[in-house]
Amino acid sequence: MMSEIFNIQFLHPSVLYILGGLFIPLFKGKVKQGYMLAVTLLAFFAVVVMPYGTYGIYEFLNWKLMFGEVDKLSKVFAYIFTIMGVIGVIYSIHVKNDGEHFSSFCYVGGSLGVTFAGDFLTLFLFWEMMAFSSVFLVWFRKSPASIDSGFRYLLWHVVGGLILLAGIIIQYSVSGDLSVQHLPFQGWWPTDLISLASFLIIIGFIVNAAVPPFGAWLPDAYPAATVTGAVFMSAFTTKTAVYALIRVCAGSEMLIVLGVVMAIYGVVYAVLENDARRLLAYHIISQVGYMVAGVGLGTPLAINGVVAHAFCHILYKSLLFMGTGSVLHVTGISKLTELGGLYKTMPRTMIYTVIGGLSISAFPLFSGFVSKSMTVTAFSEAHLTWAFMALMLASAGTFLHTGLKIPYFIWFGKDRGIKAQEPPLNMELAMIIGSLFCVGLGIFYKPLYALLPHTVHFEPYTAYHIWESLQVLLFTQLGFFLLLKNLWCEDTISLDTDWFPRKGAKVFIWLTKPLARIEYNFIGEIYEFIIQKPIMGAAKIFKVIDTVVVDGSLNGLGKLTLSMSRKMKNAQSGQIQHYAMYMVAGFIALIIIVMVLP
């Protein structure tokens, strides 16, 4: 018996995160911190010891739910998600709000659930769980702006999720097969039912990957999230979508165009942006653009590049969010026009952020160099010169903003005499771990390459490749300092595609006002004359019957219902936050029921 328990080969890390998260409120102080860290470390080791194969198959109605599809691809993503879980929890361990911890645990659990999902139904379940748990990381900021932003975030994801579900249903009705499989989409428009299914699935995925024009939720919500919540969010939603795209949509050519557009789009908006965390959010879009384009190309080198890039990206982007988040935590400011001169008071935070900046810019000896170049080289080898040039252009833009603009305007620039000090120890520790990963992967890249889904025949450190990168980066730096006066930050916001729903809603309300008046005056009177009056007449007759016969017998039942509903009404608060919480609780209950029942 004992040997059977200790022989468990596959322990689903989502179960650890979601069930483990439930017990967080039971502990206090240091014990709670130790407990949270233990859960995340345990989840990481569960991934380490997990052998390849299919586990956790449950029959549910007519469907076969597969919770544990473990192969090279799912394992490498599970590695980085669980590593990020550890770093994120260390960074946020001082947070007093248990709800926030639970949200991030469910969020990480959701993304691991998607990673190991073997069928589309399971994938969808965890997909929605991610959206409904991560929105709390925005709401827990508790400012009016973040409440609004959270609602918009939820709307985008609910729409995206419904499109995905529609695709899944069509796929099931056409093929009778729900297993997560390769369903590439060719062309730009569906021509038959089968291609409609893969089209809708790809749209559902790219909403979460923040591909324009569906990506406006990302720079809207991430800067509105809590300091620690944004660190989690920067890592999981888009990269889980990239994983799903690799699984299902590799080789879909439209992704090449969308990805390249995305890489440039993020860079353009980053020039305009004044909020440090929103600038970084736009650079997530730019970086995920490389990955989406690589998935579209679909060659083994490109897919390896995408996976390696996603792995490194999670580490350096979270590091950047931790650095700017620390500045926000200490000073309460995230606008570049209000920051400056912090190098005297927060020099160590600066070093960590610069390490993140050099990694995202693919500087030799930093993690981006060994990962991004793989994807870019895949485009050069495929002789897609336009895409190759555009991605190189975006690389220059990346260094310009994340490597130069952010550090310059926060730590140097105009000294505004802001009072600051280094952030709390746990935040700094998380940044140190992130920095070590960024430098470590840049130098010792072989272990990462060994994890990639295809065999790697790529050597990043050739003399010419180093030289090519250094030229692009250092001459970008020259351009930055020469044009520094033109790169001044302006205290504005930038309009994105969410302009349409946001302004559109106002137009809709404005349009419906006269309609409402017509309805009230004209239709209302007709209604009264034709329908209301005859019905009232009939009702008078029925009323007599009703009071005498029916009421008596029903009064007793009515009293019961009334007392029941008095108790039930407490659950109906009318606050969508509460409903979303019930939804997450429902998901968890469902997962537990499915897993526990034989």
Binding site: V268, K344, Q471
Partner: protein, 81 residues
Amino acid sequence: MKLLDIVELLRSKAAKRIAYGALIILIIVDFIIPRHEIHFFGDKIPGFWSLFGFIACVLIIIVSKWIGHLGLMQDENYYDE
């Protein structure tokens, strides 16, 4: 030496001169560096990527700012009005 001193050293005039010198060395060495497996025409031209980096940077800044001032950049209260 403290961290702050290193940062101050990097901000000095001398450091700037060294940086400019490095840029010149970058271009000179590009004439002699061995090339292999060329897929892209620019890889044959010495100094191509130096020029590319500089022009890319200038283009990104100028074009983006231009697009931004066409109407993308708005006051912070834009959506509240």
